[in-house]
């Protein structure tokens, strides 16, 4: 059985291919502007590494910020559940997880099955997140991969009161001006971020074992700081950034017992941007293949597909990446003509999110 988990994060996209419970291919790449393209590129590279093809996949689960609109995914699961599940696969004893992503930071509790029992997430401020560290690395002109080790060399950390990504930057500059060692600046920042993470962790229950996921787990300085703050040595998986994708793949595995696929009948097609996520949901379970939508849509978005003998409407493959250009959204469409894909669908199999 071959399954895939794909994690479209705000800054990077990851994919993991699992064959009979073993990881056979994976990839980590930057998230481009169009999450759909990114998704395809990511999965294709991962499959390529395992010399497999898209059609070989029995089941795919998407997670992360762009999870709702991965066209080839059978379903999506939140990154919180996926991280817990992924960590549990490596370390069943873990009960407390800290995940630091590009723009957010999460504290998670889970049980011995890797099921989430409690979680908390940071709010509107990006202070003390992955992006934050990128900016700092930029100021100290030290590669992101090295700033961690930098802090370890520190003798006297400098205090940072603000964690505003941009302003910690100017504080750092200020210190540089005073000729403060980069290591001491970095150590100070780690202290500030560490405190922030700890207060987040305190809002769930801190019980052993403790694991750190996300890019941050590669940052030795932060890991040391967190070990000190939390008072537990964290479990670190070989590729902490991949955990979410692995978790998703594991969920995918559950979904197809044996080789029989129980896929969510609903698939979302659409696009996302900073103003929100926009998608059309097609429910193949409800669709009776009446073809009305295919005839009605003025932009020829739909076509009928035949899967295991059942006719059901889908969005044309060539249209997948053009939805934002082709479909104006149902409310607009409804005002333009009296028949829309939704109104003609007697079985309510089509719905728009915008």
């Amino acid at each position: 059985m071959i399954v895939a988990g794909i994690d479209i994060g705000s800054r990077s996209a990851k994919a993991a291919i699992m064959k009979d419970g073993e990881i056979v291919g994976s990839v980590i790449r930057d998230t481009g502007a169009e999450s759909i393209k990114t998704a395809y590129q990511a999965i294709e590279t991962a499959l390529h590494n395992a010399n497999l093809e898209l059609d070989d996949l029995n089941y795919t689960i998407a997670t992360g910020y762009g999870r709702v609109l991965v066209p080839f995914a059978n379903d999506n699961v939140s990154e919180i559940s996926c991280h817990a599940r992924g960590v549990n696969w490596y370390f069943p004893s873990v009960r407390t997880i800290l995940d630091m992503g590009g723009q957010d930071c999460k504290a998670i509790n889970c049980d011995d099955k890797g099921a989430v029992t409690n979680f908390i997430m940071n709010d509107k401020c990006a202070g003390g997140t992955g992006r934050f560290l990128e900016m700092i690395a930029d100021v100290l002109n030290t590669p992101l991969t090295e700033i961690g080790d930098l802090a370890l060399a520190s003798k006297s950390a400098r205090p940072f009161n603000i964690v505003c990504a941009v302003f910690a930057k100017s504080d750092a500059l200020h210190y540089l001006r005073q000729g403060v060692q980069k290591s001491d600046i970095m150590a100070g920042l780690n202290e500030a971020i560490g405190t922030r993470c700890l207060s987040l962790l305190k809002r769930v229950t801190i019980e052993k074992d403790f694991a750190i996921t996300g890019g941050i787990a590669k940052n030795k300085g932060m890991v040391a700081k967190l070990t000190e703050k939390v008072g537990m040595t964290p479990m670190l998986s070989p590729d902490p950034q991949l955990i979410g994708a692995i978790g998703a793949a594991l969920f995918a595995m559950d979904r197809c017992q044996g080789n029989k696929v129980i896929s969510s009948p609903k698939v979302n097609y659409g696009y996302s941007d900073g103003t929100g996520v926009y998608y059309i949901t097609m429910d193949s379970a409800k669709c009776n293949g009446c073809n009305a939508c295919v005839e009605t849509c003025p932009n020829g978005l739909f076509s009928l597909s035949y899967e295991d003998g059942k006719k059901s409407a889908v969005i044309k493959k060539e249209m997948l990446k053009k939805i934002s250009q082709v479909c104006p959204g149902i409310s607009v469409c409804r005002n333009q003509r009296e028949n829309t894909c939704e109104s003609v669908c007697k079985s309510n199999a089509i719905s728009h999110s915008w």
Binding site: Q103, V166, H174, G274, Q325
Partner: protein, 263 residues
């Protein structure tokens, strides 16, 4: 002959103004570096070179801005005081000034005698500062100047809802990459609006009073000034070289200290 020099050390640029008894005889603006002391000296020397002179320690120097206290050859004065003095010397009728710097915005109020009576500055969060604007311009592969020029063409500026620079970044990116993409001029204007929203809020907090003057590097952007005028509902005054106003103020204070004569 030279009577006094003022230096304003910003996070991005360092400015100096050289005065004789009656007027400005030279100015210089250089990029700030990590060594404050060196920075201050270099900009002064540059200003002096332009008029074929070199620095002599007898000249009274007053420095303001970041780390100005640490400069050995000068006295330090607060930015607000220098701004007030500078603004008043250019526009005696000014009652309020909006200084938009690289990493902080400061609003000052002056009384009819041109004395500083109130100020408000925000330096806790990057939203609404020069760096923020530069970052946003970069996202659209524009220089601040290009973004500014574009902003005039804006027809339907979108509302940039995120104030946190990091989130605003992804918001702008999304506008850029949206199909069909939001026009860059509209995005630019949208960014200005969100920045000015915060600045005007600060003005209202201490009470808007005309005439209002705009200073600081950001004020060199005609586009942002145009929108500021719109939002305020009246035209604000912008000196020819808004960047050096604080340095000018520092210089004047220095001269007053030496000659006791007021400009």
């Amino acid at each position: 002959m030279i009577t006094a020099i003022g230096v304003d050390i910003g996070s991005l640029t360092t400015k100096s103004v050289v005065l004789n008894e009656t007027k400005i005889i030279s100015t210089a603006v250089i990029r700030s570096s990590d060594e404050t002391e060196l920075c201050a000296r270099t900009t002064i020397e540059q200003a002096l070179q332009q008029i074929g002179l070199s620095f002599n320690p007898d000249i009274k120097v007053i420095a303001t801005g970041l780390g100005s206290k640490s400069v050995t050859f000068s006295q330090s004065k607060s930015l607000t005081a220098c701004l007030a003095r500078g603004v008043n010397s250019i526009y005696p009728t000014a009652r309020m000034a909006i200084d938009m710097g690289a990493e902080s915005s400061t609003i000052i109020k002056l009384n009819e005698r041109g004395r500083l009576t109130d100020w408000l500055s925000q330096d806790k969060c990057a939203a609404g500062t020069g760096v923020f604007l530069e970052q946003m311009a970069k996202l659209m592969n524009l220089t601040s100047a290009e973004m500014d020029a574009l902003s005039f063409k804006a027809k339907f500026p979108p509302e940039i809802t995120n104030t946190c620079a990091v989130f605003a970044e992804s918001e702008v990116i999304s506008h850029v990459h949206r199909v069909p993409a939001t026009l860059r001029e509209d995005i630019a204007a949208g960014i200005y609006r969100s920045v000015l929203g915060r600045i005007i809020s600060m003005c209202k907090r201490i009470g808007i009073q005309r005439e209002v003057v705009a200073t600081g590097g950001v004020a060199m952007n005609k586009g942002i000034i145009a929108i500021l005028n719109q939002e305020l509902g009246f035209d604000i005054l912008v000196p020819d070289n808004p960047q050096i106003v604080a340095a000018l103020g520092a210089a004047i204070i220095a001269r007053e200290a030496t000659t006791g004569a007021k400009m």
